[in-house]
């Protein structure tokens, strides 16, 4: 169990073979071994969402996902949303709505909305808030983030926000 084992990981369409402990967090592997810096370390406890990536097409908190839990599913990071220089619709919405101050939480917001969109979970402004209820932002960028989420998901903003 506690010895480094060769492990195959499909990330952003590329297959990597790594020798790491199966208990290593996916976040460390992505950031340190694959130098993908989109996902951020925020709490390491699954509380803030800063580290979110997609495993399959769902949002996973990479900080507390041991790399062994990925199994055969593909991993997509913020970097992998962009295809041939064309931004994903969620990324575009965030740029358009200027939805960042420091932007440290941005990865989590974008990836969470991407996953919610994949599952068709955001049908209203309220749904957008609910989808993001476990993502923390300390700068108070919530208004712009919700605008971006609504734009990306094609739902109407609550008028007074």
């Amino acid at each position: 169990m506690n010895v480094a084992q060769p492990l195959e990981l499909l990330v952003n369409g590329q297959l990597h073979t790594l020798a790491v402990l199966p208990t290593t967090s996916l976040l460390h592997v992505l950031r340190n071994d694959l130098r993908l810096n989109g996902p951020k370390y925020g709490c390491g406890l699954g509380e803030c969402g800063a580290c979110t990536v997609l495993i399959g097409d769902r949002a996973a908190r990479a900080c507390c996902t041991p790399v062994s839990q990925v199994g055969v599913l593909p991993v997509t990071t913020l970097e992998g949303l962009e295809q041939d220089g064309v931004l994903d619709e969620v990324q575009r919405a965030f740029v358009q709505e200027q939805a960042a101050q420091c932007g440290y939480c941005l990865n989590g917001m974008i990836m969470t909305i991407r996953a919610a969109l994949n599952q068709g979970c955001v049908k209203s402004f309220e749904d957008a808030k609910q989808a993001l209820r476990f993502n923390l932002c300390r700068c108070g960028t919530h208004v712009e983030i919700l605008r971006a989420a609504c734009l990306a998901c094609g739902v109407m903003l609550d008028d007074a926000s």
């Binding site: 460390h28 965030f94 609910q130």
Partner: protein, 1194 residues
Amino acid sequence: MTGFLEIVRAGQAPKGLSARSGQKLENLPDELFIRLDETGTATGYCGHVDLGTGIRTALTQIIAEELDLPFDQVGMVLGDTEKAPNQGATIASETIQVSAVPLRRAAAQARLVLLTLAASRAGIRAETLRTEDGQVLGPEGSNVRFTYGELLVGHELRERLDEAQPVKDPASYKLVGTRVPRVDIPDKATGRAVYVHDVGVPGMLHARVVRPPYGGWDHGPFFGCSLQSVDRDAVARMPGFVDLVVVGDFIAVVAEREEQAEAIAEALPVKWAPLPPVPDLSDLAEALRQNPDTPRVVSEDGDLGAAFTGAAIDLQRSYLWPYQMHGSIGPSCSVADWREGVLTVWSGTQNPHMLRADLALLTNLPEASIEVIRHEAAGCYGRNCADDVSGDAALLALRIGRPVRVQLTRAQEHVWEPKGAAQLMDVRGAADADGKLRGYEFNTRYPSNVSPLLSLVLTGIVPAAPVAVPMGDRTSVPPYDYDARKITVHDMAPIARASWFRGVSAMPNSFAHDCFIDELAVAAGEDPIAYRLKHLPDERAKDLLSAVAERAAWQPRPGPAQPNVQARILRGRGAAYAQYVHGTFPGVPAAWSAWITDVEVDRATGRVSVTRVVAGQDSGMMVNPAGVQHQIEGNVIQSVSRALKEEVPFDATGVVAKEWGGYPILTFPELPKIDVLMVPRQDQPPMGAGESASVPSAAAIANALYDATGVRFYELPFTPERVKARLDEALSPLSLPEMSAPMSALPRPGTQGPASVGWGQRIGRLVKVSGLAGLAAGGAALGALAAGMLPLRAPIAPVSKPDAALFSQAAIARGRQVAAAGDCAACHTAPGGTPMAGGLKLETAFGTIVTTNITPDLKTGIGAWSYPAFARAMREGISRDGKHLYPAFPYTSFAKIDEDDMQALYAYLMSLKPVENVVPSSQLKFPFNQRWLLAGWNTLFASSAPFTPDPTKSASWNRGAYLVEGIGHCSACHTPRNALGAEKLKTAYLDGGEAEGWDAPALSSLSRSPLPWTEQDIYDYLRTGFSSRHGPAAGPMAPVVEGMQHLPDSDVRAIAEYISSFDSRNEEASATRLDEAAAQRLAATAGTSLGARIFSGSCAACHEGDASFMFGNRPSLALNTNLFATKPDNLIRIILDGSTAALPSGGAMPAFGNVLNDKQIAALVAYLRRTFAPDEPAWHDLPNYIAKIRQTAH
């Protein structure tokens, strides 16, 4: 050399906070502001940094505007100590207001130089030329046209900044004042931005610091000298270990990989001196009054004595502000490298130059040998740990000689960030009956310094002395026109480690000023807005407040609030106004700000929601109105969060909250509607806009609370407990129909009798009387039996290890399945050890049993065991050498394994790679260390009868029975044992037992799971590691499920069929109903208690509601047996140690043992029980119980 033009200024000594360097400030190099080159692009240099506020964009706009350059041809370098001028710390929202001034002038001057160059090239007067879009153009009709780039070819120009250089008339601005998109956002949205956390240097090592136990203090006799010892040898052989660095109380471990550094830091044994008593902050107001202070009268006007004499209204009030956290979303991080005499530090600091001075002191290097390269970091809103971690990295890089990256943990950032200081404001004010303001006496206590770099004090380079820094005076003078006033700031050293935080001291001071004026208005029977307008001397303040009142459609409300005390939900509206004054007294005023806010108060729970905020601001000229608007919104959200929720909890060790559950901040669903009003003043000088909108927040909300309830609140935060207590005390009791009837009870089987003490139980349980009685009785019984029994059995001669080639592949494969079904590896593998090589310690009520090596090693394993010796051990519990095995080894079950399976198992084990591993011997207590006594035990309890099928049952049921009763040995854990450790197979089969300190729940009708276990449930659970109707396989069940992967589907189904036949309960409730009822209870109680808050912040992301877009199992707690169990053991263990799903894709739960203390976990566990199993009795004495489990946890 390509041509260029630079505008520079002679190096200046840093001002204010940055003047902390002990070094001589002579021969300072020139400071560069603007550089243009032949490519026609310009670079601006600013000593301030972008803290995520968008100043990079705004400064770019300013330069592009003055230079008439396209926006995208201007770049900015911010806060690099080698390149950018020293402009002090990026604080007080002064970048645009102060630091941009020389930059703007430099740009204007550069433009002038370009005009002069063009004039001489074209041979015409400069006055006839104009600039546009990066070009100098001649008069209409002429063909004079030079790009900036071509004008600079061949020139190397360095001009001194003319501090009187005229700049553009704002009326002619084209770019400044427009909503330019921020330059940094595309990179941030794609992962290209390089935050300091993302800096990678070739050969970089990873470090973790280990901080002292006095968490969150920064002075005291213990500080820097509490370390007693560190055990380097205990970790030096751990994978990746590079070094351990210890200086004073500073400890860090350095490793090749980040997870290795984490593991080493966690494993490092450190002994600290016992912590002496630290200041008691449970009565914060008293602690602030007792803290020694130096009174400083900052403003005194008129005759205060006379003002108070005979005043019709004379009020005295005290206002209390709690300690709060900056709460950066990213814990601080830094990289440092020491190479060829230069120390390079990549940092997220607010103040690169000030940091460089600190680093010089720390490393004893001249400042010239240190370069601080500033990268963006998570927003800091003041002084967080960004500088501290840079000191840590610098220290390590120098020691190790390789680049080192230090990442603080979430807990370290929470505990050690210098907190926003608590503050106490005492006010006495007087007014005439007609409302005229007569006198105002204001005393404010602000305990803070600027927080010396932690490594400086931990290493003892700087003494950890209580030093006061006079920063409590921000906005200490009220904006209202009192005839006489006396404003005293009590400067005092910090109590807990504290430093500036957004709206530093102004937010608390203004909370007092504007709550107080509101109270005077009511006393005078006047409308609070009209009253303010009457007493505000500042015209722009009045304009702003009137505009905000109009936008909010404010209805005048003269006189006391008139709440409907019978209603459960009370609504109110409040106003406040403030101007943030920053810098040393009298300071520099920033933007004007006013709030009108609506609140809702739930009288039953005390919960307050801020439903709407109209925030108005007069920022003077706005370089980028979009940027200003975002700052206002950000301030509104953050300050609502601070006012409603935030308060750092302390106990006798220091800061308690080590993660977000313990320090909740505002989340998306709690967001108020925000309406921003920006007064257009583009003709006025720009005023700092980064903090102003926070300042009136708390007073506006408190005033709205008064409007809603008629009760004044003087203390932050407005948490449900505090609000409810005040309302219950002040208002007539609320008579309500029961707010949410507890969902009706599920009928439960009768509670079990006292649990018996079994082999699987932990030592802690020995204190139980029944256990002690059992021991005594057991000893006697065994003694009696022993007299007439043969204690030992004959050894079976050793053999040489059978050649694996003797066994067929089919037999080995079958044996692998048998081993999987029995999960031999679960017990016969030590943590981190080779599978089957033994060494796992099993704590039992009778002592510690160490599992044996069952690889075929001749000396230390079972290599010398013949098949008969093996089979005898399996079926009768007799070792090859004739000794009795302890019945922790479930030979009573294994007796049921048939001959074919037994041989196959032998074949499989013999085919394994022999591993030489001597395991320590078991440590049992007398009389249980007398192995021969077990002969008597066996006579009493063991049956070596083979399995006999039940002809009345299906073949598959019988197959299940064979597997479960035999090799699967499920009953070894899931059946209670008697006082002598024997399973009560006849009377209580599968009625629940214990395993490795876990509760092994009943699988019979006594199961406490809210839904009965159906065959499909058990199949799902065993096959996938997760049953959506029950939960995940965790603890000792995870390896069982893993092992079962090797069993054919038919066997797993057979097991499910057999086991489910013991649970004959009817389905009384549906999963959906249980989940919905729990969701209602969650909603009704959210935020109202410590447990509820920890649940929302720490657990809910994975355990609340339906979020099908999230990866992993998302176990429902409403369906989980552990919440309904008689004892909280399993729940507590999972919280302490976390759990990883048995199979991939299930996800994992992190361990909370290091970040939640016993009190927090107790509150959480009690809340979980109340909320998810409301009909079950509360668990008692949880804190002690948790402490005990902690001692035995792995």
